[in-house]
Structures are given as structure tokens and as C-alpha cells.
């Protein structure tokens, strides 16, 4: 047995695979939160993106690459459409961001629109036609240890690395990024300096939704790959992504690390079972959720000590003319 078949390498490679949807969703949520809008509807947006992405691969015929790109576009647009509801309610109508986000999850989620959409188009009975395959871009897939983990992944994974870098540079180095951070920290100051708070918030909530949609499509086009009704397709990944943003102190780079950590926890049960470990699977399945709680507790106690908080205006509607 080569080192690349060892449990550790398999779990790490799977960690990257399972971590990728978390990474997309978390980066999206991070952008929205940096602009000051908390969107708890990630789970719902992911589920709907998964359904729409799958539907596109079923209804468009052609070579894998263009069809899959179209599917991602469809997933992104559907995620953004869901986010638009949240944006309208919370930014324009000043509704509670928490309740609106929960409503979005119920509306778009596994007992809502994505199930309705899937049932109407009978997605569950359609077999997979296109899916993301692993690409050995640099010819390094057979490298010991690093090969399977880093170089034998799908285009979705490689794209997520580029995206992480882009988001980090965008927030940290560009004028728009500076403006977003100002909008999230001190909307009144940003407004006084001529930055359109409403526009920035809308754009980032929509982009956040689009990335959540792509994150959902990772499940239906790459990880599973299939579509079935109910919540179990995404199974709480949207919520873990929200926790990841807190874990990462709202920094894109740390999101990547956290995503793979939680990806590994999600990958562990099946890998252990394949290696003949006989722990009741429910305990292993619970791991990512329990670890999310543990990580949040650690982070929230240390957040209090350091000056690494949430964007100061997170969750607060901005109202200019109110006295």
C-alpha cells in the first residue's frame, strides 16, 4: 500500500474536497458581513444553488466544461436571487437581519423552494450527466502525500484558491475593499465621505449569495454528485460556513484553513468506516457540529481579549435621516 492510500492522506485529500463548498460559502458570507449585513440564509442559498446547478447540467447538452461553467453561473445567479430578497428586506426595509436570514433558510431550504423546484422538474429521478472530475493540471498528482491532497482535485478546488487570494487582495489592498470595510465598521462615516452605503451593502450581499450558490453546487456537481430532496444534501454546511467566518476573525486566509479543518471532520466518518473502524457513525457524523461549537466558544472567549471583533456595524441597519 502506497503512502497515498494511507488513512491520513485520504482524509486530508477529502478534507480539501469537503472543505471547498464551506470555503465558497464562507467567503461569500465574509463579504456580506464585512459590509455590515449578517445573512443567516446561507444554508438555504446553498440548497437552492445545488438544485439549480444540477438542473442546468440536466437541461443543457454539450461537453463537460461549458455545461459545468453554465451550471455554476446558474447556481451563482440563483444564490444571488435568494440573497436579493434578504438584501431588500434588511437594507431597504430595515427588517431584522437575523429573522430575515432564518426566513430565507426556511424559504429556500430543503423543505421549501429547492424541494419545490426539484419536485417540479423531477430532478431526483435524473441520473448524473456532468460532474467535476479531478484535474491533474501540473502532472503532480502522483507526488507522495502532497499529490492527492493538492494536485488531484477538481477545477472547483483550484478556483477556490484563486478566489481566496482575490478576496484577500480586494479587501486589503483595493479602494473598493477599503470602502466596504468602512461601510461595515462605520456606515455613517462612510456615508459622510461620499460612499454609497446602500449600494455597497446590496452588492456584497448579492455576491455573498452567488458564492453560497456555487458552494451548494459543489455538493450536487462534485461531492455527491447527485440531487435529492431534503436538507441532507448540504446538511448544515451553510451554518458551519457562518461559524467559519467568526472562526476566521473575518479574514479570508484563515477561512481557507478553517474550511479544510471542518472539511476533514466531515470526511472522517466515511474514511474511518472504509478502514474498518467500528465507532457508531452517529458519533462521527456529530463531530463537525460539535467541533463548530467548541471552536466558537474558544474564539468568542479570545475575541473578548483581543481587538479582533466583528465589523462594528454588523447586523445594524443604516438609517441616515433618523434623529
Amino acid at each position: 500500500m502506497s503512502v497515498n492510500d494511507s488513512l491520513v492522506v485520504v482524509v486530508l485529500a477529502q478534507a480539501v474536497l469537503y472543505g471547498t463548498p464551506l470555503l465558497y460559502a464562507a467567503l461569500g458570507e465574509l463579504l456580506a458581513e464585512r459590509s455590515g449585513v449578517l445573512n443567516l440564509g446561507v444554508e438555504g442559498m446553498m440548497l437552492f444553488g445545488a438544485a439549480v446547478g444540477y438542473w442546468v447540467t440536466q437541461s443543457v447538452h454539450g461537453a463537460d466544461a461549458p455545461v459545468l461553467v453554465l451550471a455554476l453561473v446558474g447556481a451563482a445567479l440563483s444564490g444571488a436571487a435568494m440573497a436579493a430578497i434578504h438584501a431588500f428586506l434588511t437594507i431597504t426595509l430595515r427588517a431584522s437581519q437575523i429573522v430575515s436570514g432564518l426566513a430565507l433558510t426556511i424559504f429556500a431550504g430543503g423543505l421549501g423552494l429547492s424541494a419545490y423546484f426539484g419536485a417540479e422538474l423531477d430532478l431526483a429521478s435524473l441520473p448524473v450527466t456532468h460532474q467535476f472530475a479531478s484535474l491533474d493540471v501540473l502532472g503532480l498528482a502522483d507526488l507522495p502525500v502532497l499529490g492527492p491532497i493538492l494536485f488531484d482535485q477538481s477545477a472547483l478546488v483550484y478556483a477556490s484558491w484563486v478566489l481566496t487570494l482575490l478576496v484577500a487582495v480586494y479587501l486589503g489592498r483595493t479602494r473598493w475593499g477599503l470602502n466596504v470595510r468602512a461601510v461595515g465598521e462605520a456606515p455613517a462615516s462612510a456615508d459622510a465621505m461620499g460612499i454609497n452605503v446602500t449600494r455597497y451593502r446590496y452588492i456584497h450581499v448579492l455576491v455573498g449569495g452567488a458564492l453560497a450558490g456555487i458552494g451548494g453546487a459543489c455538493f450536487s456537481l462534485s461531492i455527491i454528485p447527485n440531487w435529492f430532496a431534503g436538507d441532507s444534501l448540504v446538511n448544515g454546511a451553510g451554518w458551519i460556513a457562518i461559524a467559519l467566518v467568526i472562526f476566521a476573525f473575518w479574514r479570508p486566509g484563515i477561512c481557507l484553513v478553517g474550511a479544510y479543518l471542518f472539511g476533514g471532520l466531515s470526511a472522517l466518518p466515511s474514511a474511518l468506516q472504509a478502514h474498518g473502524v467500528t465507532i457508531p457513525p452517529e458519533f462521527l457524523y456529530s463531530l463537525p457540529y460539535v467541533m463548530t461549537i467548541v471552536v466558537l466558544v474558544v474564539v468568542s472567549t479570545s475575541l473578548a481579549k483581543r481587538r479582533l471583533g466583528a465589523p462594528a456595524a454588523l447586523g445594524i441597519p443604516y438609517v441616515r435621516e433618523e434623529r
Partner: protein, 528 residues
């Protein structure tokens, strides 16, 4: 730069005073702005010339800030017209106003705390360095440093805002305007956060800017500042323009009459009681409190208050006054030292213990700390008494008695409100303060801590609050007055202590203290 040192006085007055410039830099005509239930500006008109320092004088609530928010595009006027250099303008957003060369330094700074000075300066700029897609910090930092040197506004471009003192933060605000090459600079109550000496330095900077042909609109309710710095003064009252006068022709007395609408007595209240010598009611010894941002907010404060005296705490904002008030009232836990009320030592960080011991507290944040905004007056009135009969019986609330208590407070303290079920947020600042004072006196306190009790109130309400505080002292309550208004302190207090960087750096007898002396101590000078 630096060859001409601007001086205050007749020869320093710019073009505005001669009225020579035919085209005003700013002209506002019949501007009206309404808010729900309030007519903030009622057909206000004024004009300011290039090279002029033009003061907008008026008491709180006269409509000065609303007017400037209209001029900066933050609010849109319901009626009226704005002209800049002779051309009518319609601002749809603050950006339009910024592009037209108008910058404003708000009373509450519009800075992003986690950002650096340079980032704040370039924020929202889309003309010079801000135009590029990537933010080139070094170029911006260099420019900020240059400007700081040129105008005597030294502040390190890479410091983060939250690390700066309030005075330094104000410099960043002015640097923002200079960086954008603003033609019109609006300063809203800029001296409220400064020592008298810092204020003098600010006036020099403002005059220098006027010398260069910029227009400075200086908003204030302080007469001596207006006469010291302005060329012309437009007086606002109740949302209307009263008159525009030349500063050189005006006296403080004449301006005060215009501002309030009647003759007022500006002198210090003469009837000063003999030094009270009651028992010690409040005693702080070696009190240390950790700050919100690391470090210590209070560094071993010792203080004694006797029954019947008013002791004022003077200091520039952010030197530990807020923490002092919160520590005595138990909202903040001390890490060392003792606080005694009478013979009783308070548990640190236990507000209920402080309430029981007889500590009443008027917090500076009225709506949000002192009162819950969306709860009714009757619920707010019961904050300190709901635990005991007659407001509660066992675990239950006597809702009717709560309403009765509220009604009696409303009546006795002349709170203008539709009824006891009105939410607190619908009351004006003065009425909120009366409600809170009424509630706190209702509990027969031994100690009253009043933090910025008159901030933002109009003259009538200020007089009422001052009356309450004097009454409380004459009834034997020990009053700790925390204020940034030195005139208020000198008018009310028996003794003044000065706080600087979390410590008490001096104590003066109010009868003999002067503004200069206090300002010197507030800036960290050694006691003489």
C-alpha cells in the same frame, strides 16, 4: 508656508468682513427641513464669503447641525435653494457636496476606528491618490504628513484612529478636508472636546485656512469663541435665522440676546453659599479600573465628597471621566481600591449594591443606558424601584402603580409627554433628562453622579437641570458633576477636580479657579 502668522483681531479679518466679494462662496436661501414632529429649519437663509470665518450661532436645537447636514448633502432640504459661488446646486448625496468642495467636521467624528489615519484621509476620495484601483499607502501617508506639517496638525499617518486622543482625531478630520482641497470647511462645535489652549491653536489653523481664501463655517453655541474667531455671525433661533452681524460690531451680550431672544445675565451666579462642611458621604481610595482597550482607565483615583456639596470633574473627553462615573455606580468593576458610601463599602461591579447604598446616576448616554428607548415612560420610571413594594408584590408587578408613579413624576418634574405609556424615545432630550432626574431623586439618594447632564439641551432645560442639581445639594445630597463645559462647572461647583489620563491631577476651589488654570491642568500640566 508660515511666513504670515495669522492673528485674531481686526487686521486678520478676511475679505468677508469688508463685504467686498460680490459672489458668496455659500448662499442658502429659505431652506426648510422637517423631521417627524419637528420643524428643524424654517426658511433659513445665510451667506458666507470666500476667505471668511462665518459663525453659525445658536443654542442646542436651533437648527445649526441640520443646516450643515443639508449643506453637506446628508439631508435633502424640503424647500429652499443652495448656491455655491453663484451657482445653484442640488446635492443628492454627500459625494456631490464633497465634489463641490464642501467638507464638514462633525461633532461626533466621522472616522473609521480600526483604520489608519492615512486610510481615513483617503476614504471615499476618487480624485487624486484615491482614484487608483489599488490603495498606495506610502504616497498617501507622505501627503498626509506634509499637510500635517504645513498646518501644524501633527499626527502619525500610520496610527490607528482608536489609538489617538480626541484632539488628535479632530486633526485627522481637518486633514481630510485639506487633503481634498476643500473650499468650504464646516466645523460643528469643534471646541467641545478640546482644552481652552487646544481651542486657541485650532482657531489659528482656521484663520490660516481663511487667509488662503477658504470659507470656514464655524458652528457653536459659545459666545466667546464666536467673537474670537469669526468675521461674521449668523444667529439661529428655533430653526429660523435671526440676524447676521459683523463679529467686530457685536458683543457677547448682544449676541446672547439674539440667540436666546431676551436679555440674559452672563455673569457667574453671585449668591455662593458658604463652604458646606457636611459628613463624608462618598469616599474613593486608590481606585483602579482596566480600560476597554487595554491599559488602565483609572489609575488610583482618590476622591472625597461631603454631603451638600457639588464637586465637578473637569477634563478633556476620554481621560477617565466616564469610567469614573460607571465605576462608582457599579456598572464597571474596579481592579483595586475601595469605594465607600457612608460607612458601607460597595461591591465592585455591582450596580444593584450601589443603588441600595443610595448612589443615583445620570449617565451621559441618556437613551440606551439611563433609559430603555422603546419601553414606556412608566416602565422606565420604575427602573430603580420595581424590586420592592408598592411597585411589586412578590414576583408580580403592580402595573397600575407603575403608571401612577410615572404620572406623578411627569407632573412633579414637568415632563412634557402625552402619557405614561409613551415610549421614551419619543421624548426630547430635556424631557428625558427631567424624567431621569425625577426617577433618581425619587429614591432619596445620598450621592448623585451627573455625567454631562446638560449636553445637547436647550437653554430652558439647562436652567432646569442646574436648578435640580443645586436643590439636590441643598437637600444634603453629595453631587458629582462630570462635565466638559467649563462655564457650567464654574457656575455650579464648590470644588473642581481635574482628570488627566485616568488620574486626578489637581483640585481647585471653584470660587477662585480660572478657565486658563483649568485648561492648563486638563492638558496634563503640573499643578501650580
Amino acid at each position: 508656508m508660515g511666513e504670515s502668522t495669522p492673528v485674531r483681531g481686526a487686521n486678520g479679518r478676511g475679505a468677508g468682513s469688508s463685504g467686498a466679494s460680490p459672489i458668496p462662496a455659500v448662499r442658502m436661501v429659505e431652506v426648510t427641513k422637517r423631521f417627524p414632529g419637528v420643524l428643524a429649519n424654517d426658511a433659513v437663509s445665510f451667506e458666507a464669503a470666500p476667505g471668511e470665518v462665518h459663525a453659525l450661532l445658536g443654542e442646542n436645537g436651533a437648527g445649526k447641525t441640520t443646516l450643515s447636514n443639508i449643506l453637506t448633502g446628508l439631508y435633502r432640504p424640503d424647500e429652499g435653494q443652495i448656491e455655491l459661488f453663484g451657482e445653484a446646486v442640488h446635492f443628492h448625496s454627500p459625494r456631490d457636496a464633497l465634489d463641490a468642495g464642501i467638507c464638514m467636521v462633525h461633532q461626533h467624528f466621522r472616522l473609521v476606528e480600526p483604520f489608519t489615519v492615512a486610510e481615513n484621509v483617503v476614504l471615499g476620495d476618487h480624485r487624486s491618490e484615491g482614484k487608483s484601483f489599488f490603495v498606495h499607502s506610502p504616497a498617501i501617508e507622505r501627503r498626509v504628513a506634509e499637510l500635517g506639517e504645513q498646518y501644524g496638525l501633527g499626527v502619525h499617518p500610520r496610527s490607528r484612529i482608536w489609538q489617538l486622543s480626541v484632539g488628535e482625531q479632530q486633526r485627522v478630520e481637518i486633514l481630510k478636508a485639506l487633503y481634498r482641497e476643500a473650499r468650504i470647511l464646516i466645523m460643528d462645535e469643534p471646541t467641545a472636546v478640546l482644552t481652552p489652549q487646544e481651542a486657541e491653536a485650532l482657531f489659528v489653523t482656521l484663520r490660516a485656512m481663511a487667509e488662503e481664501g477658504k470659507t470656514v463655517i464655524f458652528i457653536s453655541h459659545k459666545l466667546h469663541e464666536v467673537t474670537a474667531v469669526a468675521d461674521r455671525v449668523t444667529v439661529l433661533r428655533g430653526g429660523r435665522t435671526v440676524e447676521t452681524v459683523m463679529a467686530s460690531d457685536a458683543t457677547q451680550r448682544s449676541l446672547a440676546a439674539l440667540m436666546v431672544g431676551r436679555e440674559v445675565d452672563l455673569g457667574r451666579s453671585p449668591e455662593r453659599k458658604q463652604k458646606p462642611s457636611g459628613d463624608v458621604v462618598l469616599e474613593l481610595d486608590g481606585v483602579r479600573v482596566p480600560g476597554d482597550r487595554g491599559g488602565e482607565a483609572l489609575k488610583g483615583v482618590a476622591l472625597v465628597l461631603r454631603s451638600g456639596e457639588i464637586v465637578a470633574v473637569a477634563g478633556v473627553a476620554g481621560n477617565g471621566q466616564r469610567e469614573l462615573a460607571e465605576t462608582i455606580s457599579g456598572m464597571r468593576a474596579s481592579s483595586a481600591g475601595t469605594i465607600r458610601v457612608g460607612a458601607r463599602e460597595l461591591h465592585p461591579g455591582d450596580p444593584r449594591d450601589a443603588i441600595k447604598a443610595g448612589v443615583a446616576h445620570i449617565p451621559e448616554d441618556r437613551l440606551g443606558t439611563g433609559l430603555a428607548p422603546s419601553l414606556s415612560i412608566s416602565r422606565n420610571a420604575a427602573f430603580k424601584t420595581y424590586r420592592t413594594a408598592p411597585i411589586s408584590w412578590g414576583p408580580f408587578l403592580a402595573v397600575k402603580r407603575m403608571a401612577e408613579l410615572a404620572r406623578s413624576l411627569i407632573k412633579r418634574y414637568d415632563v412634557k409627554a402625552p402619557g405614561p405609556e409613551t415610549p421614551a424615545r419619543n421624548l426630547s432630550g430635556g424631557n428625558l433628562q427631567k424624567l431621569m432626574l425625577g426617577r433618581e431623586f425619587h429614591g432619596d439618594p445620598k450621592v448623585l453622579i451627573a455625567a454631562q447632564p446638560t449636553r445637547g439641551l436647550d437653554v430652558g432645560a439647562i436652567e432646569t437641570v442646574h436648578g435640580f442639581l443645586r436643590d439636590a445639594a441643598s437637600n444634603g445630597v453629595a453631587v458629582l458633576l462630570i462635565s466638559e463645559d467649563l462655564d457650567e462647572i464654574l457656575a455650579l461647583a464648590d470644588r473642581v477636580v481635574v482628570m488627566y489620563e485616568g488620574a486626578i491631577v489637581g483640585e481647585l476651589d471653584a470660587a477662585s479657579a480660572t478657565v486658563e488654570e483649568l485648561g492648563y491642568l486638563m492638558a496634563g500640566g503640573e499643578a501650580r
